[in-house]
Symmetry: C2
Subunit: 385 residues, 2 copies
């Protein structure tokens, strides 16, 4: 192993790390923390007190905010960031998973800070922030996620999420049903999933929660479609049931209608050996290798054909693609390379230091030069698709 690093991970307080129910970001932070600890790094996790980690935990809220009924997370998050700031000198790297505030509070420490952006970036709301604090190094979770952003951003890398391969059991056989997993909402297009299943004549199981915000949509648009012998709405399922639910499916339907920044459920399906049928929006064409780990389609008709094709796909190949690209080991490796790149930049002679504000993209030769010096390659940092 290389020299151990002192790494702070700053998680959202919305859910525990790992989350007790939903919470994609907190789950990714948990996997990353556990893997960095396993590799011998000194990791300090800023998170809610209910978290359960091999890292040193700095409890920044007595309970996860969502379960505590706290609706506005700003006050608690700012209090956590003051604590992180107080201890900043103890760390080589401070890695944030809370989207906007670190820019304003840590911009003067941006030589050792990075922010992984976990959300969609196509809304105008946060743009003024990115323009006002252009020095903060950012990590995108797909290349598609970056597309709407202005040119001033100091991108450090694209690092796709990774899953613990131990936790996801491979099912070599798959089942006879199509799966839809997640949340009922207009942009997830459960209506398309239902139409695909009916068109293809294959059973569909929908395991999804319905948030209060989407109840009207569910009642008016989706519930009337459920009364059909092929459609089985099983409601919300827990984390422990997911692997079996996905593993027994013949394909995961992902007919989304929005710029999904990553889509953890796609790699969860792949880890079970289940191919993904997805629309080419957001991250989908990067996560799904068309013809290997799934099929990318553009219409209900194409999807209804693809679900039959998917049943003939080699589930071992789907799993192998997951292991090549989406394990937590790979994600942690990419983050470690990003941390080292950041520190090498800070140590580089001033002629090599990027201009303050980093309004120009870093010249590639420079990145390669530094990457060579620090014994890794920039290719490790970016998704290959």
């Amino acid at each position: 192993m290389d020299v151990p690093m002192r790494i702070a991970l700053v998680a959202p307080l919305a859910e525990a790390v790992p989350p007790k129910f939903y919470g994609g970001t907190e789950r990714v932070v948990w996997w990353l923390a556990e893997e960095l600890v396993r590799q011998g790094h000194r990791v300090v996790l800023f998170a809610s007190a209910e978290s359960d980690t091999g890292a040193e935990l700095i409890a920044c809220a007595p309970q996860s905010l969502r379960l505590a009924g706290i609706r506005d997370h700003l006050g608690s998050t700012l209090a956590m960031l003051r604590e992180a700031r107080r201890r900043a000198a103890q760390f080589d790297i401070i890695h944030f998973h809370v989207d906007l505030l670190p820019h304003a509070l840590f911009h003067d420490l941006s030589h050792k800070c990075l922010v992984t952006l976990h959300g969609r970036l196509d809304l105008p709301d946060a743009l003024p922030l990115y323009q006002a604090y252009p020095e903060m190094p950012l990590v995108s979770i797909s290349n598609a996620q970056r597309r709407p952003m202005p040119p001033c951003i100091n991108w450090l890398a694209t690092i796709p999420h990774g899953l613990r391969s131990r936790g996801c059991s491979f099912n070599p056989n798959g089942g006879g049903y199509l799966a839809f997993l997640g949340r009922i909402s207009p942009e997830k297009r459960p209506d398309r999933a239902i139409e695909i299943a009916k068109r293809a004549g294959l059973p569909l199981k929908i395991a999804a929660k319905v948030d209060a915000a989407d109840m009207v949509y569910f009642k008016t648009e989706i519930e009337p479609l459920l009364d059909h012998p092929l459609i089985d709405f099983i409601g919300e399922i827990g984390d422990s049931q997911k692997a079996e639910f996905l593993g027994r499916a013949s394909a995961l339907l992902f007919p989304i209608d929005w710029p999904e920044p990553f889509g953890l459920v796609m790699i969860e399906a792949m880890s079970a050996g289940t191919p993904v049928i997805g629309w080419p929006n957001g991250s989908v064409p990067e996560v799904v290798t068309d013809g290997v780990s799934g099929l990318i389609v553009n219409s209900i008709e194409a999807a209804a054909k693809a679900v039959h094709q998917a049943r003939c796909m080699d589930r071992h190949e789907v799993r192998a693609e997951f292991e090549r690209r989406f394990t937590v080991e790979r994600m942690a490796g990419a983050y470690l390379a990003a941390y080292r790149l950041l520190l090498a930049r800070a140590d580089a002679p001033s002629s090599l230091i990027a201009p303050s504000g980093a309004s120009e993209p870093m010249p590639e030769v420079w990145e390669e030069d530094v990457a060579e010096r620090i014994g890794s390659t920039i290719n490790e940092l970016v998704t290959e698709s």
Copy 2:
């Protein structure tokens, strides 16, 4: 006049200053800015570009965020605060009207910063922030507003809002109807207002907007009560119609069921000479002088009697009470005294300086001592009720 000060006022970006429609905070900031400028101070206003002010305007958003359809104001506000931070050395005082973020971004400049808290403080959401950044000097807009706050707060003063007396025309006669003005929502209790009017046999005019969030409440709880010869629902009215609407009323009904932090509409009514019938929640007992500028009641029955009593109250006395306590001149004077107190604290010999964190309430003798030195009295700073 005393020595002119260089004062930054940092307004919310939600609405223009002054607001084109609703927006109590932006209206108060506007009145304050205009009055400070009139008194010869150098005022710089951080606000949206649509603002219209005698101060120097630093435009921090091209349009008010609400009218621009921006739902998450965090990014724009953080960008504004970076600009304020960049210019911080230009000001003697930086006075914030955005609730939580200045604590985190300006705590190291707290010797010349203050935050007026415009919202309710009885929710637990922001408590961790106040505890993490206890040094920031805060102004409450009523004493009741402070009640739920922890003891660590560095309170500087309670300063009730003030209105421009020019803009509000006094009506010595009043009219024959009861008025309800503002927003239809469960905590404003329009249902109580309707019941009071029916019980008293007096006509009620309701001038109120219905937000999307309250539409179900309006449709199910309020609309069925409107079909009555005494009740007249006239919907949303503009700022220019308010003075006439209030001036022609015999009383304003304010039967609230929540801890109102101030309640501008009460002093708007008083400026027109119209007494206020209010429930003793939140700021009401501080704003309404019982028997002089209105009547405080605890039940529908008491209110139904009070509305008859109110018609015999001296409207000149109501207006006089407004002029004694709630003009913009008085508000600006109280803020200037608070600014001077803050600067005197910063200049005081270290033995007088409050402990960092200010976890103990400031000893009163100290405050009086400093106040004497700077030629004002602390009594000017606090509401008298």
